[in-house]
Subunit: 202 residues, 2 copies
DNA sequence: CTGCGAAATTGCAACCTGTGCATAAAAGCA
DNA sequence: TGCTTTTATGCACAGGTTGCAATTTCGCAG
């Protein structure tokens, strides 16, 4: 990572990133144009696209890191570990990874989370990323659980993430705090692990 | 629905719809511009947006119908019916609703399904619709299952749909036929109903 | 049939994202 | 200092989308 060149590139990238995040936070996502971001970072508008493939991409930088964190947990499955425990550990790793945003002085995740609620374009992007990630998680799961076929692994990952996500979403729509949403997600995990049939007899 | 006016409006709408679908099928989604669609339907480009909010919207017309079909199944829950059976019936109603596309001479669903695999913009749109629908399904479920709190209902719906979707997605990525994908979805439902823990001991 | 008002259609201008291309500016190296 | 590889930029343009104003069409009352 040596060289004046590398450092300058990193500085420009960071300037764009910080400008974008600041403007998104100040005026909102739609109200901020790529030209605004470039101006705030003191580069030409065209240059923005040399660093980020799209305006949305600024907010989904660490997606690969987070996926990697989840894949590592799966790869490190303890012998005989139940699926539910493994995936729960995966989720906790994800939460930790979200809390420990690097690359910026401040946390990017809360802003992204907030904007994903209000901006359809960002919600769509986040969902797409998640949907692309899940088959890869399923594949990894398949490799450490020989007794699972790919479809079952997909069902496991999808059921787990779906329950988690929608439970959290409902909690959030009820006006719950961040902690409420997280707790709802954990409850969703229980339901996924025990099965919907477990809800039939309370 | 009387009147020359209404009929003409319906005809224009239909012309746009059929032109769009035909062009999407012939040249692909990205390769078809709104201007092309308007020209094929013999209206001004600007008029397209009087009938459809966006280019994507053409392909997601019956989304409300399908949601309604699912909500009706939930509302018609048989007393004491297990959650798994109810949601399975809901899914079969969805499949039926997809197979019986109205509004066009031909089936819109296969094209939409095909394009959603290849076109990121359409995949994103479909996911967004599904994610917006699920909390409403959860609400409806809550109303017919007094023993469920909203978060649990969300977990049930999310787990069910997530398992279904990702199991089907994996099957499709393995190169399975449409029937294979459907079968995988049904297997996903089993997993969701019985719980991930049921996969621990084969 | 005639004319008035509402609704539909259209054209125009503009904004925004994103891309291709060519060129200038800068940095590393000989 | 020259040469080469990046990087930054400017320009033009395609395509989706919206707002506005003008115009056409339709339905209906007189």
């Amino acid at each position: 990572m040596e060289g004046h060149r590398e450092r300058k590139k990193a500085r420009t990238r960071r300037a764009l990133l910080e400008a974008a995040v600041r403007l998104f936070a100040e005026r909102g996502y739609e109200q901020t144009t790529v030209a605004d971001i470039a101006a705030a970072a003191d580069v030409a508008p065209r240059t923005f696209f040399a660093y980020f493939a799209s305006k949305e991409d600024v907010l989904f930088l660490q997606a690969e890191d987070r996926e990697r964190a989840m894949l590592e947990v799966i790869a490190g499955r303890r012998p005989g570990e139940p699926l539910g425990e493994l995936l729960s550990r995966m989720f906790e790793a994800l939460v930790r990874s979200l809390a420990a945003d690097d690359e910026l002085d401040f946390a990017l995740s809360p802003l992204r989370a907030r904007l994903m609620v209000t901006e359809p374009a960002l919600r769509a992007r986040g969902l797409t990323l998640m949907m692309e990630t899940q088959p890869r998680l399923a594949w990894a799961l398949c490799e450490v659980c020989p007794e699972l076929d790919p479809v079952e692994a997909g069902a496991a990952v999808g059921g787990f993430m779906g329950a988690l996500a929608v439970a959290g979403l409902v909690a959030q729509q009820q006006g719950g705090s961040d902690d409420d949403v997280l707790a709802a997600g954990r409850r969703g995990i229980e339901v996924a692990v025990n099965g919907l049939s477990s809800l039939d007899r309370p």
